[in-house]
Amino acid sequence: MNNHSGCLLVILILILALNSFGLYLYIDSNSRYTVAIAQNTEKINYLADSLDNLAETIDNLELSPIAAAPNPAINNRFVRYANSEFRPQNAQSGGTLTQAVSSFSGNMNSLVRSESTTSTINSACNDSLAVRNLMHPEVFEPVLAEYWEISDDGLIYTIKLKEGATWHPYTDPVTKERVEAKEVTADDFVFFWETINNQEVPCDPIRTYFKLVDTIEKVDRYTFRVVWQEPYALAKPMTLSLTPLPKHYYRPDATWSDSEFAAQMITSKRNQFLIGCGPYYLDKWVKGQSLTLKRYEGYYGLKPYITEVKYLVMPEPNIQLVELKKGGIDLMGLTPEQWVKETESEEFITVTPDIQTAIADSVAWNKLKEEGKTPKDYQIEKYQYEAAALPWFFIAYNQNNPIFADKNVRTALTMLTDRKRIMHDIRYDFGKLIAGPFVGASPYIDPNVTPLPFDPEGAIALLKESGWEDTDGDGILDKDIDGDGKNEPFEYSLLIPNTGTTARQIGAITQSDLKKAGIQLDLMPIEWSAFVDKLDNKSFAACILGWTGTLDPDPYQVWHSSQADKKQSSNFISFKNPEADRLIEEARRSIDSKKRKELLQAFYRLLHEEQPYTFLFNAVNLRAQNKRFFNNRVYTLGMDDNLIWIPQAME
């Protein structure tokens, strides 16, 4: 063999290799091509259906007052289907909404997984008995329920389901059998009750909520009763937010023992899929990349207009923004920094510049848009609004630590935390400083309580009162806290999660302010799992964390002293206060909303007084969205993707 043939051989092999790779890519994309054709045919079918849907919508709207419950006094409003008043008359069906999510749980069983994506998909695919009216959150309007009756003592809820609601048809992930649509009946709610009562099913977060439920029992095929053990303030919202659990899906084999069933609930392949009775069904799921929901055409209620909802996994916000500009995604949540610094160009238009007027602004904008009077050259709309569940942040102090046992010290530490600067520098003033554990538009906030001022001198005076003074001239405060006759310097460590940039920034700012007052703060960034470990064992001094506020709070888990000494409890700071206990218990028992408001406002005042946390701020939702969507409205509860639509010309 001479050199030339050797060289040729090498080149040949290379060409072959390159070409085969190219071929591979081609085949790969070709298979996608066929899939896309199939999708297109489906789209055409949907377009045909959407006409029918439109007619049906109009029918439904006119129907509403007639089909109400036999006892009209029970349902506050004569609505057959929740939030139908917000459905636009001229909406067209069709189109795809693509949105970015930062990560996806690999498990769609919302009983065993409580991740936010799991619950997002679940709520799109499964209906609850009733939901809150978007503008008047205190009013519940029926979805899956036809009507409900509450006994006079507030203990027994009798619920009649709508007839004709069906589970999505599906192909079983285990047996590969095709299962047709089955009707949703009272049995599916009883099955839910059985499942959360099976102690081997790890669904404690949900179980704790239903601890006070005595039983859920079937009356007839479409009627069941929920019986509460004692009067409970949250009984109504919790009963009405019940969702059915498909027995034929999760427990298809009647011969399974309870523990066998529990094991299946944890590791079965069925958790990789999901069936519900809601307006969308899970169509395709490419793990780690995308998830597609399609509109369920056999849906019993008012169908949403968008026929396909796609979630793409894009963890980095900056990559999401690039994709949004390119049109790769339609919708994303912005970080405050992106809102201020990266979405300033003409491509973007701010629809709701102010959180106070967001609702009115969005209504006005909708009107302009429908009349075609909006500026033409923008691509993306920006909204800021407060949603039902607002995250709020705090620095928590372990009350078992001798330093933080003193109320003066906690108050001084709050006064040394420059929350205004934190808000401005880190959140670009998106959000609000908070003074207690309730946030947003919660009625339980006492409007007379304002956050403590940033006041280093006052704080130092307070600390002096408690005996913290610089006695050895090293510029660091000290005090004898363990009673050994020697003064210990004021030094503690603050736990922060190592992935959280906001926590790191808050930590850095606080650290430098405390140092000026003579307090040494060490930051401890640790991994999330180790972080939780420390909270569970209460082996920490202070930490930065956040809670998500709800409309109907029950402070019991986080603030009651019965939870203080438990390991792994939400009251990880061991907060104990008899007065707080009394208020919490009474508020829990009182169904009367006025009394409950008084009690919880008193509780709010008490926590502000005690400062077990340094309450920092709550976040607001910042959203950027492609302009082709119509009926984007900000409601009291936030924005609702089930009510938006796309004109066919813009698809």
Partner: protein, 331 residues
């Protein structure tokens, strides 16, 4: 080899179990990018999970379960019967084998191409600089390669993203599998896909040029000094012929043996590159597994890495033996 492997897996398992935090907790509470938000009311559920996955038992029992199968999980057979177990946190309930099957293709695609490019670029340059030792080309290429070697790949990746999204906004900076429009032709499909590969491959490849080209250069120099080359030269063969017929062939052999050390890199993937370009590959999988303490998944990825490294060492030993008769294996 087998005892080493067992020792490694045993040690990994032990370290993992003693490290603070456990999969159940990271499972129960989801972390987020802003200060973590806990959901209320997570308390006793952990116990059931723990029992199910055998984590209530001491670590050696857990390791035994991993080897031979967990009696609590139906269908669990243990690693010795080829069952990698079931993921706890990354994707609760999914068999680890399935997860790996999902994540392997992007990593292999990327690494294979970048290894090919590495060899294609580095070896000719190495040979050339050996032939013209101390020439300007030799010196400058050496300096440039060392500078490349000193550029942290994650930094270059970030800079690339900054520059590209500013000046070439249509150029893809994340994800390997684009959604290709329906009507594209063969060449367009190729082009679009290739664009997605360019950045990650460059970032993966450039750092390794240095090692390979310097290695080629030094083996080549060594070969050139050998007697038989001198003899060939003395025979009056042309310089070109000597180099390509005699020297090249002999210096390529050590290069082939070094390629076995690339074996683990092929499968394991680069955490940084996958992290920045958002490629759902093996590197990200192991990072997720470590940070959420997904023991079964972690054991599998760690085990695979260890096994491949061992295999690489073994292969290079064997090929050395084959190539160089002075080294005998039965010593």
């Amino acid at each position: 080899m087998l005892p080493t492997l067992i020792l490694i897996t045993l040690l990994s398992y032990m370290m993992m179990r003693f490290a603070p935090g456990d999969p159940i907790k990271s499972n129960m509470l989801s972390s987020s990018d802003t200060p973590a938000q806990i959901q209320e009311g997570e308390s006793e559920a952990a116990k059931q999970f723990r029992k199910h996955f055998g984590l209530d038992k001491p670590w050696y029992v857990g390791y035994w379960y991993w080897l031979t199968g967990n009696p609590n999980i139906p269908g669990s057979k243990g690693i010795i019967r080829g069952d990698f177990g079931i993921s706890i946190t990354v994707n609760l309930g999914t068999p680890v084998a399935e997860l790996i099957k999902e994540r392997l293709p992007p990593t292999i695609k990327l690494n294979l191409i970048s290894i090919v490019i590495m060899y294609l670029v580095a070896i000719p340059i190495g040979i050339y600089s050996a032939i013209f030792k101390d020439s300007i080309f030799d010196r400058t290429s050496s300096i440039i390669f060392f500078m490349l070697y000193s550029l942290p790949s994650f930094w270059i990746a970030l800079l690339a993203i900054i520059v590209i999204s500013k000046y070439l906004p249509w150029w893809p900076t994340s994800n390997l599998d684009p959604s290709i429009p329906l009507t594209e032709s063969y060449w367009n499909v190729l082009l679009i896909t290739a664009r997605h590969y360019v950045l990650p491959i460059i970032c993966l490849a450039y750092g390794s040029f240095t090692f390979l080209s310097r290695f080629t250069r030094s083996t080549m120099l060594e070969v050139i000094k050998q007697d038989y080359i001198r003899t060939a030269r003395a025979k009056g063969l042309s310089n070109k012929k000597v180099i390509f017929k005699h020297a090249l062939r002999n210096s390529v052999i050590p290069l082939i043996t070094t390629s076995s050390s690339l074996l683990p890199a092929l499968i394991v993937g680069s955490v940084f590159i996958e992290f920045i370009f958002r490629i759902p590959g093996m590197g990200m999988l192991s990072f997720e597994a470590i940070s959420s303490r997904d023991y079964p998944l972690l054991m599998t990825t760690a085990g695979i890495t260890a096994a491949l490294t061992l295999l690489g060492i073994l292969i290079s030993d064997i090929t050395y033996g084959v190539v160089d008769p002075r080294i005998s294996l039965d010593k």
